[in-house]
Subunit: 381 residues, 4 copies
Amino acid sequence: MSKKPLNIGLVGCGFMGRTHSNGYKRVNDFFDVEYRPVLKAACGRNEAAAKAFADKWQYESVETDWRKLVARPDIDAVDICTPNNTHAEIAIAAAEAGKMILCEKPLSMDLVEGQKMVDAIEKAGVPNTVWYNYRRAPAVTLARQFIDEGRLGKIFHYRANFLQDWTISADLPQGGAGLWRLDASAAGSGVTGDLLAHCIDTALWLNGPIASVTAMTETFVKERKHNLSGKVEPVKIDDACAFLCRFENGSLGLFESTRYARGHKALYTFEINGENASVKWDLHDLHRLQFFDYKDDSITRGWRSIHVSDGDHPYMKNWWVPGLQIGYEHTFVHQVADFLKNLGEGKSTSPTFREALATQAVCDAVLDSAELGQWQTVVPV
Amino acid sequence: MSKKPLNIGLVGCGFMGRTHSNGYKRVNDFFDVEYRPVLKAACGRNEAAAKAFADKWQYESVETDWRKLVARPDIDAVDICTPNNTHAEIAIAAAEAGKMILCEKPLSMDLVEGQKMVDAIEKAGVPNTVWYNYRRAPAVTLARQFIDEGRLGKIFHYRANFLQDWTISADLPQGGAGLWRLDASAAGSGVTGDLLAHCIDTALWLNGPIASVTAMTETFVKERKHNLSGKVEPVKIDDACAFLCRFENGSLGLFESTRYARGHKALYTFEINGENASVKWDLHDLHRLQFFDYKDDSITRGWRSIHVSDGDHPYMKNWWVPGLQIGYEHTFVHQVADFLKNLGEGKSTSPTFREALATQAVCDAVLDSAELGQWQTVVPV
Amino acid sequence: MSKKPLNIGLVGCGFMGRTHSNGYKRVNDFFDVEYRPVLKAACGRNEAAAKAFADKWQYESVETDWRKLVARPDIDAVDICTPNNTHAEIAIAAAEAGKMILCEKPLSMDLVEGQKMVDAIEKAGVPNTVWYNYRRAPAVTLARQFIDEGRLGKIFHYRANFLQDWTISADLPQGGAGLWRLDASAAGSGVTGDLLAHCIDTALWLNGPIASVTAMTETFVKERKHNLSGKVEPVKIDDACAFLCRFENGSLGLFESTRYARGHKALYTFEINGENASVKWDLHDLHRLQFFDYKDDSITRGWRSIHVSDGDHPYMKNWWVPGLQIGYEHTFVHQVADFLKNLGEGKSTSPTFREALATQAVCDAVLDSAELGQWQTVVPV
Amino acid sequence: MSKKPLNIGLVGCGFMGRTHSNGYKRVNDFFDVEYRPVLKAACGRNEAAAKAFADKWQYESVETDWRKLVARPDIDAVDICTPNNTHAEIAIAAAEAGKMILCEKPLSMDLVEGQKMVDAIEKAGVPNTVWYNYRRAPAVTLARQFIDEGRLGKIFHYRANFLQDWTISADLPQGGAGLWRLDASAAGSGVTGDLLAHCIDTALWLNGPIASVTAMTETFVKERKHNLSGKVEPVKIDDACAFLCRFENGSLGLFESTRYARGHKALYTFEINGENASVKWDLHDLHRLQFFDYKDDSITRGWRSIHVSDGDHPYMKNWWVPGLQIGYEHTFVHQVADFLKNLGEGKSTSPTFREALATQAVCDAVLDSAELGQWQTVVPV
């Protein structure tokens, strides 16, 4: 069966460039979709690095100016994997060039900028998606399925953490390759856009809109050497951010993220308590979903640890056999698979730019609340 | 070895009356202390119930009016196990009568009332303690020991939950025996005084004073039948309460409690993240402490599950042998043991009334913040 | 309500003397039974130690010769907590004196001796029980209930371990107080009688008779200083023992015990796999039962961790409230409670001497198999 | 950088064909090795199925007769993924044709046949390996590293299980595609060759040779419909197999495998207890290693759950970042990576055919012991 080619132009050859490239290369081995991604061009400002990346991943060509990439007629879809402060410009240009767009999260530096991106992309009418990949961990998708099936009933509580510990050392510099996430001018915010945005995206997907928030942020290490200037400079990102919120459905939310939680590498967890059942998930064991069902016989009730590896679990019939787990990278393969499937049906893939804008609105409200020291209403998107 | 008798007068023959009585009866079988508690009198307003309780636990006599109990010259110590709205009156009378006092938590209905209690007890100069029993779960005491030994270093984060699910049904009434905790006139508050107060007491003990808070509360079931009036009445307690805070040591705190977390019976958990190490505990496996030590060889680092049952763990040399766990009730035995030991040294036992007042100050700030929708400074105690 | 006194004479003032005494002292505080145990006499060869023990636990009198204790008309029941090599003589004398008998496990040094004990006690017709206490951990009793309710269906597999690590050091001596378990002349065997006997008792109770076994034993440390002789002597006990077996119901069994499993203090675990469901338990978290039910919806299947602390769980309505765990010592309280309840009905309490003899028959077959290097049929009891 | 091509000819287009193909296609994206596998030909007897497989995985050509594949001069390496009863013939022919060989496990139907294979391959002197993939789960490799570093010290105990539950239904047929594992004529044995062989391979690698065994097997469902004959036929494989053993280093071993352990999909677990430390692993959470170190401060000792996802853990620097787990399929990528790396150095890759023969010797001893009902000495290889 011959497949339709989909020519990919990837901008940004860092960590996310790898996860996306892997998604494109693997999707057809495991998912029956109409399209076959073709790694047409990789683009990075550093030519040597871009060439090495392209060689490694077998991209057909290299660009060092994203504008050229966007202008190439042989590119169908632009994938944006660059630091946050460049998303808007590239995405708007790509939309105007009529390209499909797959953009790394967070969508934008702030809500205002994000709105411009959404306007451009909706005007262009191009298929689009934002890489909030954790929705497509099979256990997370299964949680959504349980909710859709009505297993949880009315929701009372939602709580989520994203805990890391990699910036505790005061000797770690900020800025430049690998460390732009500590530089506010490149990242916009710290853990809020990097980590909490994931938690918020999942929450909006699973539990609906957030109405209002009260937040606090902290920067534990106030100054770090900057790799670009070579000087010690104030750290302007948030090292930690926590907020309370009310969802529109009446449930209460608690969210926290930090890079100072010693012992946790990338522990994204969420728990949802409903009237009839509860679910709990964490990224360190992403192949499991914890589930408590009040309808079980009372003497047998307990939290079930579901090993999400059966053929009737989301996405899993495409992989191996029961008991054999998949990992982090597969979430990206799943997003590519869904993107290609939706493409055949002329649809964008959730989360779209508009849906990602709603996450941005919560992030903005959170940062505003932390700065002002008062509750903030989330701007509806 | 003959021991000095300590005559106990217990007020309140409910659940806490049982846990305390058990503490008094068992302490000498396991701890070498100078005193032996004597169950002199049990006091309850319902005479039949008080007699049955006294018979069960072998109290020597019964009272139905706590004033008579307080006035009895053969009573050395008054133990207050009644609903929260009666603590102040009994404690102040007992202090004025020169009795030692062991009072259930929370100390009082609010900070103002609590201050009067502290004034009375400090004026009387009587040994006193408040039953925040979880400090004396050996794993919790071990966490304190780790902190005192400097194993954690600078603290960045403190988070605690107390999750229950027993009031989800809207058919559950409020008020009266067993259900006074849902009646604001008897309980003062809902989960804040009942559950969060435990979390706060532990936090102040382990991590020092809380400076400021922002909170939210919710009452999910707005009306319930009242057992005393027989009528459906508004529910005035908080079913759920969550708050963010800043500790005076610069660390950030998140606290949450609820009775609507399906799947959790009494899941009190806390986690503390320090620069060098972290600890985590939960009440459903109270005999374990989770510990992560960054000083371990990098390839061997991981969370350790410490089975706190060895002879060199706090309190444990008095019990069985390694591997054999103790349970909930033992926390009360430990508090009695410490009370008797301190008595020999003329000291009160932590948490004292004054220390419990600090917890009350946080509770008040939390409830005020939730009502006002703004950050509140905690009143120093 | 006045209760009938049951006068206890305890022989042996060591670790098991403590657990049993605690059982007697606590039972009436928590269980409504017709009898009240009275701690009439404690007996130990070392008078000072026996007096200290009696003082601690408030026994009314002290004996240093068990024959005198057995002869006392004011003793109703003799509780045997002495090393294994003394069980038979004391039990037979007590039976002949018409006393009820509660005997520590293992019943006897071997099957032949055990048979004499059973003969004597059945001839005397006295109520009796053997302290295989783990049956009465509520989670273990719940496993039995699940089996009785048919939840598991046909059983395919039974596996059990009892892993300890306290004798790894070659410097540990053998013999005498606290260390008689390493002395074959006092203990009969090593881990087989001490640890595997527990596993076998539970297995016979949950899964029926064992037909045949193949076993191996090992003594890792060949010589140890003997505390009584003062000399280095050969170690004649088994440090480790493992066996395979076939149950009469067609299921397969694997059993292992050792005192050389670094990291495990007293990890008794068992797992039973049935056609429809499976259960798993371990002593280090004795308040939990793991349960897998194939009848759950396929996408929700997983092992449930049941926190066995609800009022409808075995024994638990007598203790606290859901979520609040009990511990090791409560298994003995439960056995006392059942003994007293059965006494009112004129019955012995399982496991009786005869039932404990069946465990002895398996132990003998295991040790014979290990010695002979071939499968052994278990002698029916 | 241009890489040397290595032309692969794959025989067998089933489940293992997929895992191996994935390994070949992914290795160069993540590992810097001199060779690049080229998917030259896929071979299957059913032409349509083979073509579909080749199309899916992008093999350049298709064969339906493995003899033709072996004879093709453009094939460098033959990968054998067919049922067990065909391994010998294909491997010997491939060796004689001078091809490198990568053979699925178990090596052969029995020791005699395996010896012939080893003779042929060693005579041919071709690079070879057998796909005992679990050695290359990073957590398992880390366990080996701990042992090599002397962290465990003298080993006392080794225990391993491989528990599945997929053949419990008596309605499941035997024979033919997907079910040849239940047909003794194709599989040789049941769980012994399929599951225990994995456990044995790991054990020999981590703990050295096994000297002697005593075993039992069981076939719970005695007859099943055969897919090839269409008739109900006796089931001749072992549904379950367990054995005790003595390792040459003096440690004791327990092994068990079954397809009747309800609740376990593919739960391969092992635990090793050493004098100084212990390790434990299971396939359902293959990214974790449990580690207990006696050298930790006594009050802090506990089992550590190591999340094996850091750059200094085996293989992990090639994947993502700390906290982001990999899965089952990566074990095959690792074996390909090691094969290619060793190829550059002119070496075979462990486990070689000869090493796999040692596993076969244990399997044979186990099956003989089960049949004869007596201990068997393992034939040295």
